[in-house]
């Protein structure tokens, strides 16, 4: 009787939220998969034709695939370690209390709170040809003879995008590490001190291994984050010049909502989302096993 009532209660708590997720996330995920096999245009939504693997085929013959893969790889290689290392260092410097520690923690979190749109606009303005940075580099420091075209040189533009990503993400990583560092038992440090371990040895042998689980959580989240780069690309370079700074999401978005080719864009979304989901999945499993 008692157990039966509890079981009924369980579903009352469980179903609303779970069904909602199914409705707006799981079902679209399935739909997306189906769309990717159709010639499906935004201009005639009611009329789609099955074309098998044609969308995927077209994608693999598109040069943009390699360009956007390369760009995302570069972006990820800069931003994931960049945010992790700097975020960890910030947390390591700020996890014990000293006068002013709250100020620093708050200040380092400010970029996280700044929205992508706002941050992209500011960075764009700072890095424009006649912007402040160029003024500093050419007219003040004389490091360059002519203004650097930061945003119209693909490699530099991607670097600026990555700098923005790092700038914006350090505070978030810091907060996660702050929480983790406070859970490392002080007794471990005390024991190490008794054994004569220096600050560096304590960091390498105690601190870093103790926050391993947090690190891998952060890593997963940052990989997803770097995969999600979109707003900054759209607002700062628009994928240009000549699609050279395109990433998957900007390409997908333009395919869907500028060229109206929903089927193609759906296939793109799948091609990129699947490996990432798989990667994260594997990482999570590995963490579980190593516990």
């Amino acid at each position: 009787m008692y157990a039966k009532k509890l079981r009924r209660d369980a579903y009352l708590f469980f179903l609303p939220g779970f069904l909602f997720v199914c409705w707006f996330i799981v079902y679209p995920l399935v739909q997306n998969f189906l769309y990717s096999f159709y010639d499906f245009r935004l201009t005639k939504l009611s009329d789609k034709t099955f074309i098998g693997l044609d969308n995927y085929n077209a994608i693999f013959h598109e040069k943009l695939l390699w360009i956007s893969l390369r760009n995302m790889l570069y972006y990820g290689l800069l931003t994931v370690p960049g945010q992790m290392v700097l975020g960890f260092l910030a947390a390591y410097a700020l996890y014990r209390s000293f006068p002013g520690v709250k100020f620093f923690r708050a200040v380092y979190f400010v970029p996280v709170v700044t929205s992508w749109v706002v941050a992209s606009l500011v960075f764009k303005f700072i890095f424009t040809d006649r912007g402040f940075l160029n003024y500093l580099l050419t007219d003040k420091l004389h490091w360059t003879s002519a203004p650097v075209s930061w945003l119209s040189t693909p490699f530099l533009a991607l670097t600026v995008l990555a700098l923005l990503g790092i700038w914006k993400g350090i505070g978030w990583v810091m907060v996660l590490y702050l929480a983790a560092l406070q859970n490392v038992p002080q007794s471990l440090y005390d024991a190490a001190k008794v054994d004569g371990a220096g600050a560096w040895q304590r960091l390498v042998h105690i601190t870093i291994p103790s926050v391993r689980q947090t690190s891998s959580f952060i890593q997963v989240m940052l990989i997803i984050g770097s995969f999600n780069v979109f707003t900054s690309v759209m607002l700062m370079t628009g994928g240009g010049p000549l699609h050279e700074t395109e990433v998957l999401l900007s390409w997908m978005y333009n395919k869907a909502f500028k060229h109206y080719d929903l089927g193609y864009a759906a296939a793109l979304a799948y091609l990129f989302a699947l490996p990432i989901a798989l990667l994260n999945w594997l990482q999570m499993r590995r963490d579980k096993e190593s516990d």
Partner: protein
């Protein structure tokens, strides 16, 4: 040895200050640009700080009809999504933390899988679906999708915290004839206040600044949320950087205050919650 310790403390201090300067520089830059008259902004060489600061751009941004309206829209959409999101997520987390039921393991896997899917890859089916529901160009489309997208992570955070609340409390509640609703509303939820802080901050950030979905599903300028309105400012007044940054700063304030207000609970909430070292 002592000299060494002092030296390293000083260099850490300097590094921290440089980091702080870099963190705040873009904000400073926005502020200084927004306070300059438009003619001065375009001058070369650019100025670090205006010689004659003016609030004109703030007045202009504030008075432009779109901006005020989009601020209201953003507040409305964020608040509405929050209610739905936190109601559904906390119930869901409670179910996972306190009950055994059929499909528990499988559904949890599904939820965690949703956590790893980049939200934007769903934009096409979500667009078609909400359009078919007649919700194109409506706040509902925003609220429903924001709520659903926030549920997996919020549930994950809250469940971690709920799990840390002793189950002996459950026993005593049921023994006294209390219902699970009582346990949820009167005991687990109040005890979990710290866990809500990181959840509130992360969701507020996500919803308040969400750009791609709002850009796609909203067409009517009067229904735009702040991020879309700001991005549009840039296109609309190509040279009016002063207005753009004045608007950006106004948009930043609510979330900055929310964060400063909740900040001291943030780390405590995370320490106690799911993300442990």
């Amino acid at each position: 040895m002592i000299m060494n310790a002092r030296l390293s403390r000083v260099s850490i201090g300097i590094a921290l200050l440089i980091g702080a300067a870099i963190s705040l520089y873009p904000l400073f830059f926005m502020l200084s640009t927004s306070l300059q008259p438009s003619a001065v902004i375009l001058e070369y060489p650019p100025r670090l700080w205006p010689s004659a600061p003016t609030w004109d751009h703030y007045k202009e941004a504030w008075n432009s009809q779109q901006f005020g309206q989009s601020l209201l829209n953003s507040v409305f959409v964020t608040v509405a999504s929050f209610f739905a999101l936190f109601a559904l997520s906390s119930m869901l987390a409670f179910a996972y933390s306190r009950f055994e039921f059929r499909g528990k393991r499988l559904s949890w896997l599904v939820l965690m899988a949703c956590l790893t899917i980049p939200v934007m890859t769903l934009i096409i089916p979500q667009f078609v679906m909400t359009r078919d529901m007649g919700l194109y160009d409506s706040y509902w489309a925003l609220i429903l999708v924001y709520t659903a997208s926030g549920i997996p992570f919020t549930t994950f955070l809250l469940k971690g915290f709920f799990d840390s609340i002793s189950r002996e409390i459950d026993e005593s509640v049921y023994m006294d004839g209390g219902s699970s609703r009582l346990l949820f509303l009167r005991i687990v939820m109040p005890l979990s206040k710290p866990a809500f802080v990181p959840a509130i901050i992360f969701n507020a950030l996500y919803i308040w600044e969400e750009f791609p979905w709002a850009l796609t599903i909203i067409n009517d300028p009067a229904k735009r949320t702040l991020p879309v309105a700001l991005a549009n400012f840039q296109g609309q007044y190509t040279t009016q950087w002063g207005v753009v940054f004045a608007g950006s700063l106004i948009a930043l304030l609510p979330i900055l205050f929310l964060f400063l207000f909740l900040q001291r609970y943030l780390i405590r909430g995370m320490t106690a919650g799911a993300v442990k070292g």
